[in-house]
Symmetry: C2
Subunit: 320 residues, 2 copies
């Protein structure tokens, strides 16, 4: 049965790449990394009830399992190439696996990612994905390059996914159906900013993807770069759906601490800010200036009078 499940997935993820010498079906895949490049490798797991609500459509789970990993490659400025998938399932459920593989392969095909290995086993529902991408040597975006005086930007809008999660329980009871659908879609089908990451490689001094919440994630940039970051709460970009569904106080929490956005937050020297916005606009990706890099440490979220806004929690921590 284990092998049948892998066959179901493989049949859906059959994508040829010249750098895959030997794909699924042996003890290991054999891969040929391109000369002159570094390999960017990341792994992220999704557990039912922790990373996605029970009842999430299998197709969306498949999409999201790959999306959160491609988002990590995007944050490094890497071009995605190969993925491995571990699927832990309570029982051999061919319908689940088929739908899961459809969502997974839809996103894989969009980024020309080959599935080169996998493991399916019995157990409580969880998915692990490892992704590989390439970046020219010494060109990767890292967390440790922010410099005092740099500006802080974020792609797209923030808070929709966390708002979508609220829409699934009583806190979203008042949200209109069409708005709820938009927000839940952002929760279930995040878009990894792969092209934006490539465009940022030339410009950004540091970059991270927003998975745990903007303030928490930029906290990693601040720490690794030995700087402080000040954010202007009024500048945080919001989608029309978020503006329609939640008032300002609720919005700021969702945008600054909600997580699951998979946008890219990055720092850039002021003189390059224009180039960044131009290059991102070329690929249809908006970016908003939300703050600046300062002396000190940590991340402060400031209101219009420059006062600190306290967040209920500094991002999503799984064992909190």
């Amino acid at each position: 049965m284990e092998f049948d499940l892998i066959d179901v997935i493989r049949a859906r993820c059959d994508l040829a790449r010249a750098d895959v010498v030997l794909g699924i079906g042996d003890d290991a895949a054999l891969l040929a990394p391109p000369p002159g490049h570094e390999l960017a490798v990341s792994t992220d797991a999704l557990v039912e009830g922790v990373h996605f609500p029970r009842g999430t459509a299998p197709r969306d789970v498949g999409w999201k399992a790959l999306a959160v990993n491609l988002s990590d490659l995007a944050a490094m400025g890497a071009t995605p190439a190969w993925a491995l998938l571990t699927l832990i399932l309570p029982q051999a459920d061919a319908a689940f696996v088929g739908d899961f593989a459809e969502g997974f392969s839809e996103l894989a095909a969009a980024h020309h990612v080959a599935l080169v290995g996998g493991d399916t086993t019995r157990g409580p529902l969880a998915i692990g994905v490892t992704v590989h991408g390439f970046v020219p040597a010494s060109c990767a975006l890292r967390r440790d390059g922010a410099r005092i005086g740099d500006l802080v930007f974020v792609t797209g809008t923030l808070g929709d996914a966390a708002a979508g999660l609220r829409c699934l329980d009583a806190r979203g009871a008042d949200v209109a159906d069409d708005v709820r659908a938009v927000l839940v879609e952002r929760l279930d089908r995040p878009t990894p900013r792969v092209a934006a990451g490539l465009a940022l490689r030339e410009h950004a001094s540091a970059c991270i993807d927003v998975s745990d919440g903007l303030v928490a994630d930029l906290g990693h940039v601040a720490k690794r770069s030995s700087v402080g970051i000040e954010l202007d709460a009024r500048a945080l970009p919001a989608s029309p759906a978020l503006l329609a569904a939640f008032d300002e106080d609720a919005r700021i929490v969702l945008q600054a601490a909600g997580g699951d956005d998979y946008e890219l937050a990055f720092t850039v020297a002021p003189e390059r800010a224009g180039d960044v916005q131009r290059d991102l606009a070329r690929i249809g990706c908006g970016a908003t200036r939300i703050g600046r890099v300062v002396e000190g440490d940590g991340v402060r979220l400031l209101d219009g009078e420059g006062r600190d806004i306290a967040l209920p929690r500094a991002g999503w921590e799984h064992f909190a």
Copy 2:
């Protein structure tokens, strides 16, 4: 808390490699594969109650999680290099993580494997590991190279791990304590045959590691190579502990279908059999001739009169 757990693991697995440009702590690791080599990549998950008994010492779980993955690299003839670890835990248990990391890092250090990425999250206990190794281009051991007339060998001995599992329940009640300890040790602390895999690269026509059971695993070699395989049940190598603990009928089942052995089963042209045994002996690894490659398909297990021996099941299938 998530980050504390990773720090605990990282502190135990702090091993420097020049090809790790950027390790744990960014969105992805940055790695520099050696020119002229292929990258061998494999992933395997362990779920409590499926791949290891509840109550297994965390240190052994850490060892085994890496061992089963290194065994896959061994079966390709690859030199291990990097690992990523996903740890799904019911609660933030620093003692468990510390012990787990100790077992994991003990084996990692022995093979000079750097931990370059990880993810810890809340959920039912499960561990996923992805490993990377190098093999000179076109030199990897594969499953599809067996030729009619080749001899079939296996390293070490078979059946101890499955016997160890029996010793944990009523079926092993009669086994002496010292023998039981040896068998359970083989279940909990399998030895990946990394050096043997490297030695086999020059000689073997096909290779696989014995994880699901000898007959089931050689079935993959037979299928991928479009050949049949005949095994001599009397030739299957047994350890002194296995001989002491189980009678012949029980032994054959454990050896041929028990699984979890992590020995290497391989095929080799008859004229190279002497060289193989000499090279393996040099690294202290025994190998036993157990059969031959024939026309046809599938794997037959034969008794002294050439009659087929029926096995209760053709190896370990997780959803069986």
